[in-house]
């Protein structure tokens, strides 16, 4: 590759470099927020794009297809028979000795059994109870924030609130909740998708086993204390199809990882992203101030615009044609939700952040089809409450410097967002 490197991400120019020389999944484009031109080009020139080399400089055994248009992504999501979620929903194949089993990476009927067992945690009755609890905690967190001085929104608000919620979902001791963040970050820090900045497989294995031990203890404690509680662990215990999951450590660990990451990174980064997007779009913030009733619509727009999980992967179970391109059996097929969410053929003015846009719920951030996010209502509720409570306390949240973004192709998020709160006048 002799391309001149002139981009701030240190990567070849996404518009002039031959497509076959680009790594679509390079996490540095997310770190530097320079991902848009490449995906725009792919949607136009090569919407079902084959990359012969794996991500992060891997050879041909990591080859994959990138699907970048909204309609094509929905088509793949629909066809779970031809596009399986086994063996993995991330670009990379599972590592040896780490092939944990989680229901997001299975197909029916096993998928449906395991998912139904935990779906009740976000059933209406539970959500109503959670709403009171979430509001109370949100108030505590926001009331404890400094006004008129710069602090990191990610630590003080986004991580704090999502981790408290996660501890509640598992009936996990609140005083140890920082461990949940630690495990979630570990689960998504594969060095192979973080431009080498994550942890090695050995480092991650040690931490994941720690998590398994801790949760195995928690399983037995919950079992002994069989009170009426709608936490995820007791729900698994109560359903005959998952009642013995603890005896299958790879399955138990896999599903814990899924529920921890699913309930953590996504909401956390949308909570931060919302602050940034509103700061960058003052006219949208003015709409919000004028009409707080717009919050539910804004929450959907924040989730679309942020797309906290940029992709999911499927694997072709047979030769299948998509939008005129043959995808051979066995191919990795990466669905770039982040690109579909900016596809102007499906969403008008897709690159703009518009909090009262029509059909605001029609986005891909939760995925579609049988693997669609099961925590979407809870996530939307958490974000809605945060914004309701922010507006009652502060005039505005000023972003004081550029965010520090995660260098990760699976989680689009933030390490830091320096902000200053301005008091209501």
């Amino acid at each position: 590759m002799n391309q001149a490197v002139t981009q701030k991400d240190g990567l070849p120019d996404p518009l002039t470099t031959p497509l076959d020389q680009l790594d679509v999944a390079d996490p540095r484009r997310f770190e530097h927020d320079t991902w848009q031109p490449l995906f725009e080009r792919l949607r136009r020139e090569s919407p079902v794009h084959y990359q012969a080399h794996g991500p992060g400089g891997q050879g041909a055994d990591g080859d994959f297809f990138s699907i970048t248009r909204y309609e094509d992504i929905v088509e793949v999501e629909k066809n779970w028979q031809a596009f399986s979620s086994e063996p993995s929903i991330a670009i990379l194949d599972p590592e040896p000795d780490m092939s944990v089993q989680m229901f997001i990476s299975t197909d029916p009927p096993l998928h449906d059994d395991q998912r139904r067992a935990v779906q009740g945690v976000v059933a209406p009755r539970n959500l109503r109870e959670f709403e009171l609890l979430i509001r109370e905690r949100t108030r505590e967190t926001l009331d404890g924030l400094p006004v008129g001085e710069t602090f990191n929104w990610v630590d003080r608000v986004s991580i704090d609130l999502t981790t408290k919620m996660l501890a509640t979902l598992f009936d996990f001791p609140q005083e140890q909740r920082h461990l949940l963040t630690h495990w979630s970050d570990t689960a998504t820090s594969d060095a192979r998708i973080t431009a080498g900045r994550g942890l090695s497989i050995d480092e991650r294995r040690v931490i994941m086993i720690e998590m398994l031990e801790c949760f195995t203890k928690l399983w037995h404690q919950h079992k002994a204390d069989d009170r009426e509680s709608f936490d995820l662990i007791r729900m698994l215990q109560r359903d005959p199809k998952t009642a013995n999951m603890v005896d299958d450590p790879l399955s138990y660990m896999g599903n814990l990882m899924l529920l921890i990451v699913g309930g953590n990174d996504t909401t956390r980064n949308s909570m931060t992203g919302g602050v940034l997007h509103l700061h960058n779009n003052p006219s949208e913030f003015a709409k919000l101030k004028a009409n707080p009733g717009i919050i539910p619509s804004m929450v959907s727009e924040i989730i679309r615009y942020q797309t906290p999980l940029p992709h999911m992967r499927r694997t072709a179970t047979r030769d299948v044609e998509l939008n005129g391109t043959l995808i051979p059996k066995g191919s990795r097929v990466v669905l770039w939700y982040i690109s579909g969410n900016r596809d102007s053929d499906a969403i008008a003015n897709a690159d703009q952040f518009i909090i009262d846009r029509p059909n605001v719920r029609n986005h891909l951030s939760f995925g579609m089809g049988i693997h669609r996010c099961m925590g979407n209502r809870l996530a939307e509720m958490q974000l809605r409450i945060v914004w309701e409570e922010i507006l009652q306390r502060f005039d505005r949240i000023e972003v004081m410097g550029p965010p520090v973004r995660t260098c990760n192709s699976f989680v689009r998020g933030y390490h830091e967002l320096p902000v200053m709160l301005h008091p209501l006048v």
Partner: protein
């Protein structure tokens, strides 16, 4: 044209004329009936237009895609349907469409 009676979870009723060619989901959206979200816009891939349908006459059958989404619902009943898959025709009988407490 069949008359469609939507009944919200709290019992509120809305009676509207069904238009041939539209789906029950589109009819609900057109008349701003709360309780249907239709996040995927009608492709049977989100499950957020779930409803319980009572009709005297026959309805279009449940296709595999609809079945795969209904299969995930803990609150599924024998008459559960995705309203985006119910296309209205002039020959249809009147129907009652009960909305669930919650879309998920």
């Amino acid at each position: 044209m069949p008359v469609i009676t939507f009944i919200e979870f709290d019992g509120t009723e809305h009676q509207v004329d069904g238009e041939s060619g539209m789906t029950v989901m589109e009819t609900a959206m057109k008349h701003n009936i709360p309780g249907i979200d239709a996040d995927c816009g009608g492709s049977a891939v989100c499950g957020t237009c779930h409803c319980f349908v009572e009709a005297a006459g026959p309805l279009p059958g449940v296709e595999p895609q609809e079945e795969s989404m209904l299969g995930l619902r803990p609150d599924r009943e024998a008459n559960s349907r995705l309203s985006c898959q119910l296309q209205i025709s002039d020959q249809m009988d009147d129907m009652t469409v009960r909305l669930p407490e919650f879309q998920m």
